[in-house]
């Protein structure tokens, strides 16, 4: 029974079923948040009233499934805190998604634009933009997303550059993203920084957690589920981890079966030769 000749589309059907059935059955596993996620949560909880946090939304539709739930959980937490928030975007496609998160998770906590937070919107330039923000955020972002000049925005009083920011939370899906923020901002001004990123980039940033530059990092849907559990707002992350686990088990099964068949056939070939 040589499964290799099997049409690949049957394999697609198997994966689709393995994901849809647990999804429909709404199987939910208890989420034990990772230490990394807990460190970020505690660091943000410990921010004194009136401190300033910069949230940079550098993601797009392609990474919406992992980073949108993270953004929601983060805004829920910040909505309950008395902390000034500045939002920037390094990806043009992040605009509407951040706006949606604000409407659903932040504004319901009674926050007012211009007083509690400001959305500075998108600017191109990546590395250049972040490096400019080290000197002057106001020169890089002369207006907020509504077109109001920054000098008329109360929440920005007393804030000139990245040095005046107490905490950076970077939601990053690739380039420009967390790597550029670490290179141009964190490594030079030394402010606390944490990041939520797609699961694809997470393994490449554990060394910056090891060196103390990142307080913690949230990786993909598991990171979103961890943070949702910590914030106490189970949503797409926690509910997603049910089918997610079955998907992992199926991939493991396929790798094992595929390689058992391969090793057996190689053994036969070696014995025949």
């Amino acid at each position: 029974m040589n499964l290799a000749k099997l049409d690949r589309r049957w394999l697609y059907v198997v994966m689709a079923v393995v994901l849809v059935v647990p999804f429909m059955a709404r199987i939910v596993f208890p989420i034990v948040p990772s230490d990394s996620a807990r460190k970020i949560y505690d660091a943000i909880e410990a921010l004194p009233d009136g401190s300033v946090i910069l949230v940079s939304a550098d993601y797009d539709p392609g990474s919406e499934a992992e980073l949108y739930p993270m953004n929601l959980a983060l805004f829920h937490q910040l909505g309950q805190k008395n902390v000034k928030m500045i939002i920037t975007q390094l990806w043009p496609q992040a605009g509407p998604l951040v706006k949606d998160c604000l409407d659903k998770a932040y504004l319901p906590h009674g926050k007012k634009e211009g007083v509690d937070f400001v959305n500075l919107g998108y600017k191109p330039g990546g590395l250049i933009l972040i490096s400019k923000c080290n000197e002057s955020i106001l020169k890089a972002f002369p207006e907020d997303v509504n077109g109001t000049p920054v000098k008329d925005i109360p929440v920005l009083k007393g804030i000139e550059s990245s040095n005046d920011i107490d905490f950076f939370m970077i939601l990053s899906a690739g380039t420009p993203g967390i790597r550029e923020w670490l290179e141009q901002c964190q490594s030079q001004i030394g402010k606390p920084m944490a990041s939520g990123m797609t699961a694809v980039s997470a393994p490449d940033f554990f060394q910056y957690e090891n060196s103390g530059q990142l307080i913690g990092l949230l990786g993909g849907l598991r990171g979103a589920a961890d943070y949702e559990a910590l914030v106490g707002k189970p949503g797409r992350g926690v509910l997603g981890m049910g089918p997610q686990s079955f998907g992992h088990l199926l991939i493991i099964l396929f790798i094992v079966i595929g390689n058992i068949g391969y090793l057996i056939s190689r053994q036969k070939a070696r014995r025949a030769a």
């Binding site: 392609g62 690739g174 380039t175 001004i189 030394g190 694809v200 980039s201 393994p203 490449d204």
Partner: protein, 277 residues
Amino acid sequence: MRLLSIITIGESYPVAKLVMLALMLIFFGLVLYFTYQAKKGREIYIRPIAGLSAMNEAVGRATEMGRPVLYVPGIADMDDIQTIASIVILSEVAKLAASYDTRIIVPTKTPIVFPVAEETVRNAHADAGRPDAFKKDDVRFLSDDQFAFTAGVTGIMLREKPATNIYMGAFWAESLILAETGFLAGAIQIAGTANVSQLPFFVAACDYTLIGEELYAASAYLSKQPQLLGSLKGSDAAKLLWGGIILLGVLFATWPDMEAKLESAFGFRFADLFIFN
């Protein structure tokens, strides 16, 4: 307003920035020294790189089967160093393909890489003595969107059936679609990227994979250009230097009394030379 003043009296300029400046100058010195040596024609040894020696075979295979070579220079723009290294390799592969009279299709994703790739392939055909064989339409700008571009490239794989797929440069999530579609289309695949998150798939699904820096070493190995050889040997020498720095750092971290002696003599600990905030 001060003109230049890096060091001002009274204000303490971070020592680590001076150490960084010194290390940068040492590193540049190494690179320029080896570049000078290479220019003077001194024999520069580079260990063989498996992925590269297969490239001649792979282009040869495409020629025998009379099918084109597909070269994807990554999806990053010219500001990404991997793309620049990929363009250097592209010019060598295009020269090889032109000399074998084999078509080379180069899909690009970014506005600046498109003209650069077009001119590189045109010049490669001229250098190989076949300026007429250059087909302008084989260097194509598919789309500025990552996945529309990927769909375009897999379309080329299915329709024009290249016998050899070469992926050199910066790749992200689309690397798997390219590698698997190419694997199932039965093409020989050579990949090279410094984007570590994509290397697992290239390693698992391609015949040869250049890991991280080997991409830059490949551009030096293939082109034998003095500057590329110079920077490669410069980097090698720098790795010895940084290996020494790390061992020294471990020494000071493990023997606090040595650290104390250093501190009493110079006023800062060894690690302070590298961290300033």
